[in-house]
């Protein structure tokens, strides 16, 4: 598993490419997409890139203090990033980042 940056076919540095899965709730602010590609070294980088593309995502993903929004859970390949390195969690090529709203059960 490679993390960080690697060089593409033309020798240029290429960031890790990941798939980001969006919950139904957030698709309207991402042009209706359920899944988008993005790049970055960390989950935070990936989110910044997504917000640049879809500014409507900003308030939904990041709380007022710059950390992950309280009612959002984010998983890197099914592992909750809050128990890894939160937004500093490194991503690898081909990782799937899933964003889900916090819900109850029981």
């Amino acid at each position: 598993m490679r993390v960080g940056f690697h060089r593409g076919m033309d020798g240029k540095v290429v960031a890790m490419a990941v798939e980001v899965r969006l919950p139904t709730l957030l698709r309207p602010v991402a042009d209706g997409s359920s899944s988008v590609s993005a790049e970055g070294e960390t989950v935070g980088d990936v989110f910044r890139q997504l917000i640049g593309r879809y500014p409507g995502l900003a308030d939904n993903l990041i709380g007022e203090d710059g950390s992950l929004h309280k009612f959002v859970n984010v998983y890197r390949n099914d592992d909750d990033i809050r128990y890894l390195d939160a937004l500093d969690t490194k991503v690898a090529d081909g990782d799937v980042i899933s964003i889900l709203p916090a819900v109850a059960g029981g």
Binding site: P23, V72, D80, L100, G105, G106
Partner: protein, 312 residues
Amino acid sequence: MARFDSVLGLIGDTPLVSIDALAPRPGVHILAKLEGQNPGGSSKDRIALKMVELAERDGSLQPGDTILEPSSGNTGIGLALVAKLRGYRLRVVMPDNVSPERRQLLEIFGAEIVSSPGEEGSNGAIRLAEKLAADDPALRMLFQYGNPANPLAHYEGTGPEILRDCPEVDVFVAGLGTSGTLMGVGRYLKERKPSVQVVAVEPPSGELVQGLRSLEDGFVPPIFDPGVLDRKLIVRPRESIEWVRRLLDECGVFAGISSGAAVAGAVKAAAQLDTGTVVTLLPDAGWKYLSSGAWTDDLDVVAERATRINYW
């Protein structure tokens, strides 16, 4: 001694069974705590009894009162059993898309059911229950999501039972619903054996519940303290059903769908150990899920069904 004055005496002290057939390598052990052996059929019997006992003790519950509770089924069933024997009425607010067996059991156990919209999931049931409780002060909402009696039941019961029966436990894996099991067992185990890792498993509910209006409709149970967890994993319906089948086929354990998810998590945790012991909690048995087709129908069909019907 197997003699009891009341069926409520059967709550807790559930068996811990080896499911090593599913372990990844020799030297790594997995044990499952079978909460389906409780008299109401699930681990929720423990919290139902504890919530009622504490409310009786502090006077907030009086004879003849009506208890109100949002539940996707098992807590409702546990409360129905306790309410029936202790002389209370019970009204359960439940999403209308839970498995039919849960609804049937609640009815025959004597509970009144108020349905909340299935597409709003448990969040919707909580919202509706809060509204009903606000509209009628005579209703007593015990509120499993915020009631300290919930994790307390596991801190005083489930946790000590696990350490008693498996002092060599290295990792505890359980499903995350109200978080009571993880908080109660997790705290108890870490206090007595700080090296124990606590791993939560959850369904991708946000993908199953289509109708959230905004993220502010999201909900984090007040009793939940993320500091108790070391790791949290999503397990999807398809995986849960695969493991529930393997539990029966390879271990003879007939468990509910959320148990399949817990075992999926337990196996992932076990895979990271060279040697060691994982204990996982199976909330209920398979009886309430026969209608899901989990053991009989095509895997993809059941997985799709699980996105519309609440089996967690």
